[in-house]
């Protein structure tokens, strides 16, 4: 799964529990103090404090359900720092209670990560039970452990489910080769998963497999077949089309993906097995197909 768990971004030195501060600005200043103990930032500490205080005065922050979120973004800053403060006593700002403060310092190059971070914090704010647990965390480690235990993934990029082609066709194992051929012809696509009567995926078949039905086993031992100009068995394919079933020529699934699998895994499999299409399967049902053209179109030229 190509996603990063929120807890992996947290740093216990940047989490302050039971803060005695009584105002948001004091909390922010303390968190800034923490940042400067551990990191180098593109602005002096004083400037940063001045900057954040100005923002707070302008009410340039977000408060939802006891959680306050404030941030500073720099040009040309390549990192993302999260400071967290939990005041011992509830702070009231314009009739809104603040019990956890998230303070994020980042650059403009981490847009998607930043947006996912915002989503995650929003999710935390909506989860009353989790929020209570976090507020009453015994220490920084406990806080991180609580986040770890819940499912907060920062999806960094798209997964297989986002890119796959959902409009798939498949064929029953008992269909005749003629039906399969018609399907390939009609859909103008050379790959097709094979299913049983309950629509469970049991195999796959390509146009080449269909053509090879007229190409018997013994031909596979030749180095080349150039000595033949015409080949009777190939012509005979037309006759066996209605007698042979898909299950006679299908292959077992060489590989498959789940919708939550990472795109990188799909590329890895395509390269390893030198194939164009990979079925996306969930609970034995085919829910999509991802091909390298999907990846090329939607990511490389997306």
């Amino acid at each position: 799964m190509e996603s990063m768990h929120f807890s992996k971004l947290l740093n216990e030195h940047q989490i302050q529990i039971n803060m005695t501060s009584t105002s948001l600005s004091e909390i922010c200043e303390e968190l800034i103090e923490n940042f400067y103990r551990q990191f180098e930032l593109p602005m002096s500490k004083q400037d940063m404090c001045f900057f954040i205080n100005k923002r707070l005065k302008e009410n340039n922050m977000i408060i939802i359900n006891d959680i306050c979120f404030c941030h500073i973004r720099f040009e040309n800053y390549d990192d993302l720092l999260i400071g967290i403060g939990i005041p011992a006593k509830v702070i009231n700002i314009e009739n809104q209670d603040v019990r956890i403060v998230f303070f994020v310092v980042t650059g403009y190059s981490h847009n998607s990560l930043y947006l996912h971070l915002l989503q995650t914090i929003a999710k935390i704010s909506k989860n009353d039970q989790l929020r209570e647990k976090l507020i009453h965390a015994k220490n920084a480690k406990d806080f991180i452990a609580t986040i770890s235990a819940s499912d907060f993934s920062l999806s960094k990029s798209l997964d297989v489910g986002d890119l796959m082609c959902k409009n798939v066709f498949f064929v029953n194992q008992d269909s005749s080769l003629r039906e399969l051929g018609n399907l390939f012809y009609e859909k103008n696509y050379g790959y097709c998963p094979v299913t049983d009567d309950n629509d469970n995926v049991i195999g796959e078949v390509t146009v080449l497999d269909l053509i090879l039905a007229g190409f018997p086993e013994y031909t596979k031992y030749f180095e080349t077949m150039n000595f033949l100009h015409s080949f009777e068995p190939l012509e005979r394919l037309l006759n066996v089309e209605s007698t042979l079933r898909v299950k006679d020529i299908m292959k077992k699934l060489e590989c498959k993906l789940k919708p939550r699998d990472a795109i990188i895994e799909s590329i890895f499999l395509m390269n390893r097995y030198k194939r164009r299409d990979i079925p996306v399967v969930e609970n034995n049902k085919i829910i999509g197909i991802i091909s390298f053209m999907d990846i090329f179109r939607k990511i490389i030229r997306g």
Partner: protein
């Protein structure tokens, strides 16, 4: 009384042989487990097993030949020969059958039997399909031909390889002692196949014309390499002929030729992939396991005992023993893989050579070679070549039942063994 070591060694050995007869078990694993059990139970030390009992001359001769074939087969030489044969026979099925039988026997004298049938069987199935007749006569006769032809030379069949290496018999010795009788066996075999199948193989003229349409020259993918390969093959055989004169072992000749071919074709060879694909590691490890297994029995002193017992039993009558060997190993090889038998017989015959004199025991080596190689034709499962070619045939939609094969195989084998026993009975005494 048997000592503990002897009991263990004998039990492992007998168990392995019983397991070898079960075709569902992987015989390579059986051989390796048996062999390494001998080391684990301290019946034989690892040093001794590796240095004295594993016959590296056999192993590297096998590897060298596999590598040579790996290069040569890419040139299309063998397919060219087979297709050319069919055209020379003018598409006449009986003629094709006999000529391909002879070609297979000839190729098999220089190539491994299995390699030969893997090359020839698919081509003959294709020819039969084009002719609109059943490929079974072709497949069966070629498997049998490869087993007979392989007996002719030192390098034709693994039992010969092992015997030659262990008894210090040269390529020339094999040519002198086995090739004449095998030529007779092959010709008689051809006659019988003619009688068996001549009435069944009737085809229309237009189908024969299709065979003449074959453009076999197209199979030659690299003419330069093909000519080079033929030169190296000839040199290989020439060197084997004079191996005593050059004081050089067969394995070295094979590896040297393989290396020359690989260097010539280096642009198309990635050694890692080439070694993986062309060397049949399964067979190599089977041999290694078997050599150690037999080494264990020998170290435990059992071979000595059997040897003494055998000498007493035969009363030193080598003439009668050699005929018994031909039939005994002939029949046994039809039932299970002949290689374990031969591996066991090698130290035994070596012990008898010491007791009775190497020259006196010589006929027994030839009887062992004839019996174990020719006996493989007795049943469908008697030789790897039979199993492999029947497998190719089955996958191509033409299954061969055990009895269909065995019917013909049995007749040919009985004739072969009869000729062989007459031969050893009169030639050496």
């Amino acid at each position: 009384m048997l000592q503990l070591q002897e009991i263990i060694a004998l039990s492992v050995f007998v168990l392995c042989f019983i397991l070898f007869t079960n075709s569902k078990l992987n015989s390579v694993l059986v051989a390796l487990c048996g062999g390494f059990s001998m080391i684990v139970f301290h019946i034989i030390s690892q040093e001794k097993a590796f240095s004295e009992y594993v016959d590296w001359n056999v192993i590297f001769l096998l590897i060298g030949m596999m590598l040579m074939i790996g290069v040569i087969k890419t040139t299309g030489l063998f397919e060219y020969i087979a297709l050319r044969t069919a055209k020379i026979a003018k598409g006449e099925p009986v003629r094709i059958l006999i000529m391909l039988f002879l070609t297979t026997a000839f190729l098999s004298a220089f190539l491994d039997n299995v390699t030969t049938v893997i090359i020839i069987t698919p081509i003959s199935i294709l020819i039969a399909v084009e002719l609109g007749i059943s490929p079974l006569p072709f497949v069966i006769s070629q498997a049998i031909g490869s087993n007979i032809g392989g007996t002719a030379t030192l390098i034709g069949d693994p039992p010969n390889l092992m015997i030659g290496s262990a008894a210090h018999l040269s390529f020339l010795d094999f040519v002198y002692n086995l090739t004449p009788v095998i030529i007779i066996e092959v010709l008689v075999g051809a006659l019988f196949f003619y009688i068996f199948f001549r009435k069944r193989l009737v085809v229309q003229n237009w189908r024969k014309a299709k065979i003449l349409e074959f453009d076999e020259k197209q199979q030659i993918t690299d003419k330069g390499l093909m000519i080079f390969s033929i030169v190296i093959l000839v040199l290989f055989v020439v060197f084997l002929f004079f191996q005593d004169y050059f004081k050089i072992h067969a394995a070295t000749v094979a590896i040297a030729c393989a290396l020359i071919l690989m260097i010539r074709n280096r642009k198309n060879i990635h050694t890692e992939e080439f070694f993986k694909n062309e060397i049949e590691w399964d067979s190599i490890f089977f041999f290694i396991g078997l050599f150690i297994l037999v080494g264990g029995v020998d170290q435990a002193g059992i071979i000595d005992k059997i040897s003494n017992w055998l000498i007493a039993l035969t009363n030193g009558n080598i003439r009668a023993t050699s005929v018994i060997f031909v039939w005994g190993f002939g029949i046994a090889s039809g039932i299970i893989n002949n290689i374990p038998f031969v591996a066991t017989m090698i130290p035994l015959l070596n012990k008898m050579s010491i007791a009775l004199g190497a020259q006196n025991v010589l006929p027994l080596w030839w009887s062992l070679a004839l019996g174990s190689c020719l006996g493989g034709n007795g049943t469908l499962i008697g030789a790897s070549a039979n199993i492999i070619s029947a497998g190719i045939s089955k996958k191509s939609g033409f299954p061969i039942s055990f009895w269909t094969f065995t019917k013909y195989g049995m007749i040919i084998t009985i004739i072969n063994l009869a000729i062989s026993s007459v031969y050893v009975y009169f030639r050496y005494f």
